[in-house]
Symmetry: D2
Subunit: 338 residues, 4 copies
């Protein structure tokens, strides 16, 4: 059970609730973060009825479970938040946010070639990993800061906003100096300290859903970021792990309209990881936009068969151009611009 | 291993292969169905290399595994098959096949009211179950033949093609007398005798994917139907069972473009069962069409809160009309008519 | 909502409930099977509170959902049912029921060799498929009645009870003439007509859980059998389909003690299909017995690498003998005999 | 593709391989960690055949994929590693390592009461979380260092080894000062920086499998730890997320014998998280030991209904004592001591 206090409640009013709970013999703990306040009732498990506390002064609500979506929640009349993608673009507004680029930043020249091409095809943002989260310690782990410099150079040349992954708290400042958007990968969705760290700086955060995470866990991960003061969170559906074998993951697109029902955060879809199959990326991009996604995250490489990672799901430059062309009527049908 | 014989191969030529295998000391069995012929190599498991048999007269191919998609397979240049939905409509061609109606046929008057409304909103076919496949033997099992009569009456009044489920071999003739399309439900996708029975008559078959079935198993179920001589199979994606809890099933839309790559069979999507949540049906309908579906199967009820089954995922008449309106631009974007 | 009537309730008393529901304006339907009676409330979905009906004469209980486990349910003090495995053995009592044999019955001589060996190692029952449920129509579908004759011969020679699969209603009489236990396979767990057909004869039924089925669906499938009058149902856990890839299925052993908590039906475990990996069969057999299973279903073949199906998960004769030896102390620890 | 160099290979020999790859026009990168050396071939994807490099001097093996289990791998004749659990016990040897205690460390007095009881019942180690990884930022996050002091006090009083979770790199030193074993939780299994941090100190690490992680990913997470020089890794199976709903997770016990086949690391099973249901903990403990687990991790609380977290799956003190009693014959059957 969780007692949501009004943000303007005084310490005395919070203490009053604590005293009432103590008198009832119920363990409890005060939570206060970024101006949000509440009291968690511990270990009661239905033994004690605390609903009467809902009438105490400055108590907003009494929730059955301690898992409220407060910061990211949608109230009637709320609109999806429009968040900046660098200085030239945004996500969550009328224009779709198309983010494209290689899985790994491999070299300066390759990155610049890809960046120029995706910009030319209509992307507003460049993706590329230079701190790589790899399953195996024996796999290439990324070029590190050198890759960040190349990404910044690509932004300078093309005007594309830079989206790149940050993997550890200590890297947050460094990555935030170069990137326009900090990506938290699927493997780190439950890394609450990293979530807090990216929440403690001001650049927007692109948060990928863990492949084994529930929707509630996904939104609560966003709360971890937002409670540190950074409300610029972009959610990314990238497929979940199921019994299907013809795809790398099962792209659970229904999460897009469901998030729109309960949260104001913008949502992008990653059909590259979400399928793992190059030929499925374009049709699933159309589908993502048709069910309400605010943007796409797409892996593009000038020579996918030679890509250092994720080649099988990367589009070549011409395929990406074609995807953008075919996407146009669907963007229009969804009343969005491309 | 499976040796695909040319359909024009003679018995002597097939026996020649059998003799060669016998000499190699390998168990085998001849398969012949609806003009398709082959020899399955049994128990070799890589012990014996049969690839040389590929050069024998009238051998088309030697496959590593005994699971070829022969009847439903797509060759380069093939188009999706256009199959009749009753006498006034079709599926797989330019016009989308929208099939709508109640989960259960509850009464004559309710069915006629729903049928008139979905027809008016643009549906070309009426769905409704009168032999119900229920998890519990204590649940309502359907009105049986009486329901079929009401469905036929609804067709007479509206011109809508009738799609209804058949659950057992003995019912196939009866259902085929009334219905335009015979539905095989998810729970029966692996019921090979029912598949053969609907394959032995000429009405089109709408085959729903089992919620635990792989794509390969889904297509092989279609092969079971087609090998009996009925090639009019419509595939239906209706969601798979995963760890997600905010939906009844996870709608695995990537299966739509994947089927288009490997099979000529038309595909419809059932976003009602595929989500189990009324508010998600419209956006997922848009997504289904955007990634290439040939039609939709949607549960509609005049009073969903009073529906005998699946009320939580049924649209009311106005919601269905609105869905059809909002679907139009996506149909156009997909170069389809509605 | 489902109103469970006392089995001794009169038609008038049932009609009384129906009248009360009619007056409340609630659709309903009477269910009566094998002496069990109830009234399903249709389409109310919480609109109407029927709990007061619990006080009407001869109403046993009012259930929130129409999915009671009535026939298979366990009441306090109930013991697991002990069901016959042929004339010489049983399952559910002190002695474990070990059922072993080939996936497919391949030939008379091979079957007799395997039967003699598993008997010698301590099995009490012989498994072997002669009507095979195969994913592909191009795979060997079994020897049919000829295989049944061989199975009966093996019983004559060894005294082992015969367990074999039945796939369609029309085969039930034939298979029941030869077999001691009729197996319903995973693919047919939802085939309610087959469930009813095996429920309409008296031989025990071994019901395998569908790989995508919930526990509730599994038990309700048993209800379908039992409501026809045959209460001799043996449940079989054989693994579910998950994201794991090093096994063919994930053996969900917790289902064993959970079934023991809520049902009186005996449970066997199939570690062969449940893992798909020969080397995992013995340790998972130990685990199955340790958590309360009443028996095992194990694939054994004299030459697994030449088996016509499931070779990779079949034990050879020596491996089975060794499994039985190593199982003994675990059987004893579980206070069971082997 | 990954070229495993002999640990004694010289820099010149590694450079020789790099030169050969450069000449073949193939991107590559040298990996060297904790004395293990290799060259990853990047982006070749079967374009280039590097198997001939297997004959170059000091090349041990050429692997198709860059995901070798080197540090944790089992060679023929290897035995499971026996790792210390504090000063009085070990895991992986003849005696089973039973680790028990509360989910959260709630207060000093409660912890000491529980510790005394689990010690008395036969546990060799005490678990208890004081840095808690919680789904919701609004949930109690643990007592922090104060809880560590209480855990150390409990060890002093009982002699039990302390197992407690570490959630971030900065905490590693602190936690290592107090704990005997550092636990990395499911949510952090993919947090490669935390893995490296616990690998950089010398206390044993208990690594829990991510609920969505494959077995290969699980073992590669152990490699991340071991490559930093700490080879004392205990693996813990705690259930995976599937479609099952009567349990919190599906306990995938087959992973235990499979790990034994391919790795020398000891394995414990957590039946508390692995089922989420108190009554299933004891039977699944028996099963875990029966299939080869080296120990158990069990949640115990003096008053489970008042536990601050995970009450539904916690045993009370008497239930734990009873579990230990009933486990004894299974330990003996598995030729282990308790």
């Amino acid at each position: 059970m969780f007692i949501v206090m009004n943000p303007r409640s005084t310490t005395e009013q919070v203490n009053h609730i604590v005293r009432l709970l103590d008198e009832m013999g119920v363990d409890n703990c005060v939570i206060e973060r970024a101006g949000r306040k509440g009291v968690e009732v511990l270990g009661a498990n239905g033994r004690v009825d605390c609903t009467a506390l809902g009438k105490a002064p400055m108590v907003d609500r009494v929730l059955e479970r301690a898992e409220p979506i407060l910061a990211a929640g949608r109230q009637p009349g709320d609109r999806t938040a429009e968040l900046p993608l660098g200085t030239n673009a945004s996500i969550g507004g009328p224009r779709l946010g198309i983010i494209a680029g290689p899985c790994s930043v491999e070299s300066k020249s390759r990155l610049l070639e890809i960046a120029a091409a995706v910009k030319d095809a209509g992307a507003v943002s460049l993706r590329g990993g230079t701190f790589k989260s790899r399953t195996s310690p024996y796999s290439f782990q990324g070029h590190g800061e050198r890759g960040l410099e190349w990404l910044a150079l690509a932004r300078e040349e093309t005007g594309l906003a830079v989206v790149t992954e940050v993997m550890r708290c200590e890297q947050v400042d460094l990555v935030a100096r170069y990137a326009d958007v900090l990506q938290v990968g699927s493997r780190n969705m439950h890394n609450t300290h990293l979530l807090a760290a990216v929440g403690g700086q001001s650049k927007p955060v692109l948060l990928k859903r863990g492949w084994g995470a529930s929707l509630e866990e996904f939104l609560l991960a966003a709360e971890y970021v937002m409670l540190e003061g950074n409300s610029n969170v972009i959610l990314c559906e990238r497929g979940i792990r199921t019994h299907e074998t013809y795809v790398r993951n099962t792209l659970a697109l229904a999460v897009v309209p469901q998030i729109k029902r309960i949260s104001t955060l913008p949502v992008v879809v990653d059909p590259s990881h979400g399928t793992g199959v190059r030929d499925l990326v374009a049709p699933m991009s159309n589908a993502a936009i048709a069910c309400g996604a605010d943007g796409l995250l797409i892996e593009v490489h000038h020579a996918p068969n030679e890509a250092w990672s994720d080649g099988a799901q990367s589009l070549d430059l011409e395929q990406f151009r074609s995807l953008m062309d075919r996407l146009k009527p669907f963007a229009k049908a969804a009343k969005r611009e491309l």
